[in-house]
């Protein structure tokens, strides 16, 4: 891992990154075999003037090289652990870099970098510790009907089990303050982390706000994203987690 020389940025890119990091906003992007799109996603976010940390979750393709070339700091898992684990690693990394605001962003290109500002603005205006993106308050283009139904069922499940009134539970586009990030400790390595974050937000008693965002489903993101059958795995993971400390 590491040592291939690709995960280092050139000096102008590193200087530009340092300048963006100085504003205290870090965008964390977990990615696994996203070499095809990660460069464009990172470049979009960098154009908005934010520091980017990509967590390469043990990819076998050129995710790491492409992310670094586009101007991201890359943290590499030596093995594939899952999106939840990658997010926690990214949050830990951003905290060590002195981040005041951490934004989580999907690597498959279904979020819009231009909406990061809105998320942060709402976070600050509401004096909240979490700003949670909601595609159901905003827009979801090309969202398949069956997936919409499963997502709605997840909303009902989360409201009942966590007592947190949100309209979108499995949206990876969110922002959190440093204080909020420090209250999160993800132990669900895979997709159940999205529910786990909400459980921890509810348990922390910290303030949260929902913000309308757009999720653009493409053939690529639909192929890479969760399948409907994953809902059962998520439920099982959440149940199993209740059985041990």
């Amino acid at each position: 891992m590491g040592g291939d020389g690709f995960s280092h940025m050139d000096q102008p890119a590193a200087a530009s990154m340092d300048k963006d990091a100085a504003c205290g906003i870090w965008v964390v992007i977990p990615g696994y075999n996203e070499g095809r799109v990660i460069g464009r996603v990172v470049a979009d976010v960098r154009r908005q003037g934010y520091a980017v940390a990509v967590v390469d979750d043990g990819s076998r393709d050129d995710t790491c090289a492409n992310a670094a070339a586009a101007g991201a700091r890359v943290v590499r898992h030596p093995i594939n652990l899952g999106q939840g684990a990658a997010l926690q690693t990214g949050i830990d990394y951003a905290l060590t870099q002195g981040a005041e605001v951490i934004v989580t962003f999907d690597a498959d290109g279904q979020h819009r970098a231009g909406e990061i500002a809105r998320l942060i603005e709402n976070l600050r205006r509401a004096r909240a510790d979490f700003a949670l993106g909601s595609r159901f308050r905003g827009a979801a283009t090309n969202l398949p009907r069956l997936r919409r139904l499963v997502l709605m069922a997840a909303v009902v499940f989360t409201r009942v089990t966590c007592g947190i009134r949100v309209t979108d539970t499995h949206n990876g586009f969110r922002a959190m303050t440093r204080n909020g990030a420090r209250s999160i400790r993800l132990r669900q390595n895979r997709m159940a982390h999205a529910s786990e974050i909400l459980q921890q937000i509810a348990a922390s008693g910290l303030r949260y706000v929902e913000v309308p965002v757009t999720v653009d489903y493409t053939a690529y993101s639909l192929r890479k994203g969760q399948r409907v059958a994953d809902a059962m795995t998520i439920l099982l993971d959440l149940f199993t987690r209740k059985l041990y400390r």
């Binding site: 891992m1 590491g2 943290v75 093995i79 690693t89 060590t96 390595n189 059985l243 041990y244 400390r245």
Partner: protein, 117 residues
Amino acid sequence: MIAKIGLSLLLCVIMLYAWHEYRRFAAVASMAALAAAFGLYFVWFPDQATRMATLVGVGRGVDLILYIWVCISLLVLVNLHLKLRAQSELVTALARAMALAEAKAQDHDASPPIAPT
């Protein structure tokens, strides 16, 4: 009598196992201990098992004990699964520490050298 003693010993082992595991997996350990306690009771008071079996509609007392034994086996299986998850958490912590240490080293290498005074 030999069978009773053998079964009792096995159930006692399950009780010990549950006690040993209680600190880490309280829910599973409690269920296993409860099932083992029921098993012990039925081994030594089979008439009660038959009465209970008739009450719950199982038929014979021995069938009820067999079902309890199956339940205990499943609980031990769940416990093993939880142990695997605990191991997975350790692997995650290790991989994360390695990744962060490597990133820190890279950041250090990338930072510009301090100008001589």
